[in-house]
């Protein structure tokens, strides 16, 4: 386990809990999807938890976050309360977006969580603009932009990296390289599969990190954030990970062998980190029980909150199509 950062036991357990919390939340979502409480697309993060948990702990409240449609992990790790998130999945008014966005479009102004984007690559230009705003307003915040390796194939990736680097803007580009874009394996989609190397074409300093190692991600994210804050311009962080479940809820996964998935499951970020904590005597059985109990309780409350939610009245359908004022 790489640990170029000094994390005390409390912090390490927080990382473990952060990942388990996402995993458990999504397991519940999958269940609720079968029960048809949640509809539309549901993109699970199973296997990728270390990325959001590792990166978010390096961010500050003044930083802005641009997410993807596979964003529950990003949202929870950023601190969006589980209950408003679950309510959003239910499509009720108590959801963080009043049930209008659903799983793919989580927004939380208070936490500067600027939205899940369902157009692959569509969030990258927004992050550049958020960073530009911070710079022009003399604020210290940066913009962290999450996207998959598939987004790297879109023209907006190219345009956004050039613009951020050219203007030396405070953007942290975080590529969640889970090796597949729906059924498209990276090596079948990109002539250069070493994604972090592409950053060089824009003179952006980059690092590739084992995205299944939460401590390694945390350490790399801290290094990158430090550099961005120091005014060195954008940084690029490629997190090498794996999607253990279907792309969305309907997906026969004919495009990859079951053995491959199984092999990766063994390298999963949670089992692996838990084993490491155990091996180093940092995880007491009581800790684990406590963490799991807390998470179960939180999920229970979130589901109850969502179940008690109310549909937004149809009369409000046109509200916010046009804004009456810019929220302060």
């Amino acid at each position: 386990m790489s640990a170029r950062v000094r994390l005390d036991r409390r912090q390490l357990l927080a990382l473990l809990k952060g990942m388990k919390r996402i995993r458990a939340f999504e397991a519940k979502c999958a269940e609720l999807y079968q029960a048809q409480k949640i509809r539309g697309f549901l993109h699970l993060y199973d296997g990728e938890e270390a990325v959001s948990v590792g990166v978010m702990q390096a961010l500050a409240p003044e930083d802005a976050v641009v997410a993807t449609y596979r964003e529950h992990g990003q949202a929870l790790a950023r601190g969006i309360p589980m209950n408003v998130l679950m309510a959003e999945m239910y499509g009720v008014r108590e959801g963080c977006c009043r049930g209008r966005g659903g799983s793919m479009h989580i927004f939380d102004r208070e936490r500067r969580f600027c939205g899940g984007n369902a157009i692959v690559g569509g969030g990258l230009p927004l992050a550049v603009g958020l960073a530009l705003a911070a710079r022009m307003q003399g604020r210290s915040g940066l913009a962290a932009c999450f996207f998959g390796e598939g987004a790297v194939e879109e023209g907006e990736f190219h345009e956004s990296l050039n613009l951020a680097a050219l203007w030396r803007l405070p953007v942290l580009f975080v590529c969640e390289n889970n090796r597949y874009a729906m059924g498209m394996a990276l090596e079948r989609a990109e002539s250069e599969t070493d994604i972090h190397a592409k950053a060089a074409a824009y003179r952006i300093a980059s690092e590739a990190v084992d995205g299944m190692d939460v401590v390694a991600v945390a350490a790399a994210a801290l290094r990158a954030v430090e550099a961005v804050r120091a005014g060195e311009g954008p940084r690029f962080l490629e997190c090498r990970t794996y999607r253990l479940r279907a792309h969305s809820m309907f997906d026969a996964q004919a495009y990859r062998p079951k053995e491959e998935v199984e092999a990766w499951r063994g390298k999963g970020p949670i089992v692996r980190f838990q084993k490491w904590l155990d091996g180093n005597g940092l995880l007491h059985p009581s800790d684990l029980a406590a963490i799991e109990a807390e998470i179960d309780g939180e999920i229970e409350l979130a589901v109850a909150f969502a179940e008690a939610g109310t549909p937004e009245p149809v009369e409000e359908l046109e509200r916010f199509v046009l804004m009456e004022e810019v929220p302060a």
Partner: protein, 329 residues
């Protein structure tokens, strides 16, 4: 392949592509996840295994590049079928379609044709929210140089592709996402249909209901409901959105003297406006009542089911609009 067959719209699309690729070495299919994944709506399942990944090509997530590549290949002897997963993503390829596919034949003085077919899913109804629920076929129908069709029946899904591939011009085929699971019967695997021309899907003398694509069956449901009230609605399926077969629409209006246009696009500036305007221009004195439109609410389509459904044209709203024309209170 001969004799009547019962199949889904999805299966009809698949059979049409399979047949086209087998029949003509110049035809190939390319798009995101059309091969190994089998298509985002499972339309192309099995095609790559049978026909090979040279003829059924998975592309990177690069809408502009692979649509433009389809145009280039079409300019030089191929007959590409390019699949854009959904109309929502086609915005990223719009420059290629509008500035290249639609202009090159005319701009080159007829030296180059662009015999390209682009298929894409369109429409709402699956709770996919604002970025995944657009109905923008009306936009494309504005562009000279393009042909736009919207198969609304299993038969058209099965046979329009062949007609599109036989056309020397770029043809965009819009498949409504809610139709893929619909079942229907085709006369025979060797039948054919015209690419252009509207079809009267139900005859009636009291009011003309003009629609296309995913709204056809909602409109037929409305006509059924109206029949119970002794209102005979004629239902016209435009089939082709560019060019428009106004003759069929005008003939119907000449009979019914009343028009309701049903279009899932946002009302303002939708294709329904063109139909209503043309009828008002060309059959003004035939109309006994103002033309009416039933369209989507002018809102980014929300995720919540009840809000999404409130956005879309529904049979009862269609029936109400027709009723109001036939029996003004």
């Amino acid at each position: 392949m001969s004799g009547p067959q019962r199949l889904t719209y999805r299966e009809a699309c698949r059979q049409a592509m399979r047949e086209a690729i087998l029949d003509d070495p110049r035809v190939f299919l390319m798009g995101e996840d059309v091969a190994r994944y089998g298509g985002c709506y499972a339309v192309t399942k099995g095609l790559a295994e049978e026909l090979g990944e040279e003829r059924v090509r998975d592309t990177p997530l690069s809408e502009s590049a692979f649509v433009g590549a389809g145009i280039g290949a079409a300019m030089d002897g191929m007959r590409p079928i390019v699949e854009i997963m959904t109309v929502n993503f086609s915005l990223l390829a719009l420059d290629q379609l509008v500035n290249n596919a639609a202009t090159i034949p005319h701009m080159s003085g007829g030296q180059f044709a662009v015999p390209l077919v682009v298929r894409m899913a369109t429409g709402a109804g699956r709770q996919l929210a604002a970025q995944h629920s657009h109905s923008l076929e009306g936009w494309y129908a504005h562009v000279p140089g393009l042909k736009i069709v919207a198969p609304a029946t299993v038969e058209d899904a099965r046979f329009m592709l062949k007609a599109a591939l036989a056309d020397p011009n770029p043809v965009l085929i819009f498949e409504h996402v809610m139709l893929y699971n619909m079942e229907g019967t085709i006369p025979d695997g060797t039948a054919s249909v015209r690419l252009e021309g509207a079809k009267v899907r139900r005859e009636g003398g009291d009011v003309s209901l003009v629609t296309y694509g995913g709204s056809l069956f909602k409109t037929l449901d409305a006509a059924e409901a109206l029949a119970a009230e002794n209102i005979a609605a004629e239902v016209i399926d435009l089939r082709s959105l560019r060019p428009l077969d106004m003759a069929t629409v005008l003939a119907s209006v000449a009979k019914t003297h009343r028009l309701v246009v049903v279009d899932e696009g946002w009302r303002s500036g939708s294709l329904s406006a063109e139909i209503a305007a043309r009828v008002a221009e060309e059959a003004f004195f035939e109309l006994d009542a103002p033309p009416a439109r039933v369209c989507s609410r002018e809102v980014p389509v929300p995720y919540a089911a009840h809000l999404e459904q409130a956005c879309l044209p529904q049979p009862d709203a269609i029936a109400a609009a027709a009723r109001a024309l036939v029996r003004p209170s």
